[in-house]
């Protein structure tokens, strides 16, 4: 299966409210059932998906597929932060995957961080979704990850770089679902007021449109070629 590569951009709207150029490559690994590499600016994550496959009796669930997520950092061994992110990704994927269609099976997602230049969690979320699309898993909706940073002046910056994240007062990451733009996942770092959080959420939902359009375009191009 040949690999396909797509690129997307979000038009500048003024203020920091635009995403870095992002691109995705699907089907690049031959052994996993689904694979994708998602690049957001200089941050890139590679995901490999296996499933639905044979499951160990101890882990099997009688009515749905058992989902497992493994996140490997670029350098070093997995620590507590990776476990916390794995739990987040797993519960996000469990909410969209129609696991009831494949009971007593296991779906495994393995994510490898290739480079981290800010907004890592949202890159992982996007990569996971593209990976699931590539594997052809039944999904109730798509999701995308958007990171917002509120800097010291109160300006909202979307898709911050590592520098912007460190200088920011608060960094919020949202996973937005594609059907009704509701919040699937939210996680924050630093403190912010309620109003600021709602503004970030609105900005993230707006940016999500671009990312979903990109998903649609890339899948369309892929299947119209073959």
């Amino acid at each position: 299966m040949g690999a396909t590569q797509e690129e997307g951009k979000m038009a500048t709207e003024g203020g920091g409210c635009c995403l870095r150029p992002f691109s995705c490559e699907q089907g690049l690994l031959s052994r996993p059932d689904g694979s994708a590499a998602f690049l957001q600016g200089d941050t890139s994550v590679l995901v490999g998906l296996y499933g639905p496959a044979e499951v160990k009796v101890s882990k099997e669930l009688p009515d749905r597929a058992a989902l497992e997520v493994l996140l490997r950092p670029k350098v070093g061994l997995s620590g507590v932060i990776e476990r916390s992110r794995e739990q987040l990704l797993r519960r996000t994927c469990e909410a969209v995957v129609l696991g009831v269609l494949h009971p007593r099976t296991a779906i495994t997602l393995v994510l490898q961080v290739l480079s981290d230049a800010g907004s890592l969690l949202s890159c992982c979320l996007n990569a996971a979704c593209m990976g699931m699309l590539d594997a052809g898993l039944p999904l109730s909706s798509l999701f995308c990850g958007v990171t917002c940073a509120i800097d010291l002046n109160g300006v909202i910056v979307l898709d911050p770089t590592t520098q912007q994240e460190q200088e920011a007062r608060a960094v919020l990451t949202f996973a937005i679902d594609s059907t009704e733009k509701k919040v699937l996942t939210a996680t924050t770092k630093g403190s912010c007021s309620v109003v600021e959080m709602q503004q970030c959420l609105a900005a993230a939902q707006h940016a999500a449109d671009t990312i979903f359009q990109f998903y649609r375009d890339s899948i369309q191009r892929r299947y119209s070629k073959s």
Binding site: E86, Q87, A95, L184, T185, A186, T188, Q205
Partner: protein, 258 residues
């Protein structure tokens, strides 16, 4: 349907919260929190260490949440499982985000000596809502901590710890966590029990501090929520914050000074 839960509570009602401070005499600070049946104990031990090279005027706070096999059949003994690690990371994030203690306050001598606070949070009885109980126990224990005064002897360069003269920690903010369980995208119930958590399709935890600012919105996947529903959760969390703050103040006042 009747807006009532198996244990008779309303959808927005918390379980009876009790706090017991200073129960562990060997620890520098301790608190036992009971949220209904969920029992969590937090012990804080302070040790001295050299500060990190890049943060020479900062001490350390190291939280650790343990869910031993004692508290529930779902946990096996052995290395910490995913839930315990995720809870530890959550507590570490709450400490970091809310700036509950300024790490600069933990510094004794710039570049040479600083306090390390090891906060061990152990669950004794798991009946749901472990994050709220852990955050509350941590806050209560930190308020109870008495650090001995340390001076550096200029001649020998060694530190001298004076156990008779103790100072309480300066707690800057009071973060309080409020957890909700989501059912079927629409129903939100506060303070879920273990049974409700197992049946829920998602959970949300909101951590607010004194001024109504959000320290953390923790929604690890699960059913999607609209922005309006999230706002409802935040409003409820702010109310809860006031109740908890009143409770903590009452308990601190009731401890007789040694």
């Amino acid at each position: 349907k009747e807006n009532c839960r198996p244990d008779g509570r309303e959808l927005g009602e918390f379980r009876a919260t009790t706090v017991n401070i200073g129960s562990i005499t060997t620890a520098d600070g301790s608190a036992l929190v009971k949220l209904g049946n969920t029992t969590v104990i937090c012990g804080v031990k302070a040790e001295l260490a050299a500060p990190a090279v890049d943060a020479a005027n900062k001490g350390y706070i190291v939280p650790n949440v343990e869910l031993p096999s004692l508290c529930s059949t779902r946990f096996r003994s052995g290395p910490p499982g995913e839930e315990a690690q995720a809870a530890s990371q959550f507590i570490a994030d709450v400490i970091e985000n809310s700036q509950i203690i300024a790490k600069e306050d933990l510094c004794v001598a710039n570049g040479k000596l600083a306090w390390v606070l090891y906060c061990d949070i152990i669950c004794l009885d798991y009946d749901g809502n472990i994050l709220d109980a852990s955050a509350f126990a941590l806050l209560a224990a930190l308020k109870n901590v008495q650090l001995p005064s340390v001076t550096i002897n200029e001649e020998t360069g060694l530190s001298e710890v004076n156990l008779k003269q103790k100072n309480p920690l300066i707690i800057r903010k009071h973060p309080v966590a409020t957890s909700f369980a989501i059912f079927d995208d629409t129903l939100l119930i506060v303070d879920p029990t273990a049974e409700e958590e197992d049946l829920a399709t998602g959970t949300v935890t909101i951590v607010t501090d004194d001024e109504g600012r959000l320290c953390s919105v923790h929604k690890p996947g699960g059913s999607p929520l609209t922005g309006a529903k999230l706002q409802d959760c935040i409003t409820r969390a702010v109310t809860r914050h006031k109740e908890v703050k009143k409770l903590i103040d009452k308990v601190i006042k009731s401890i007789k000074p040694k």
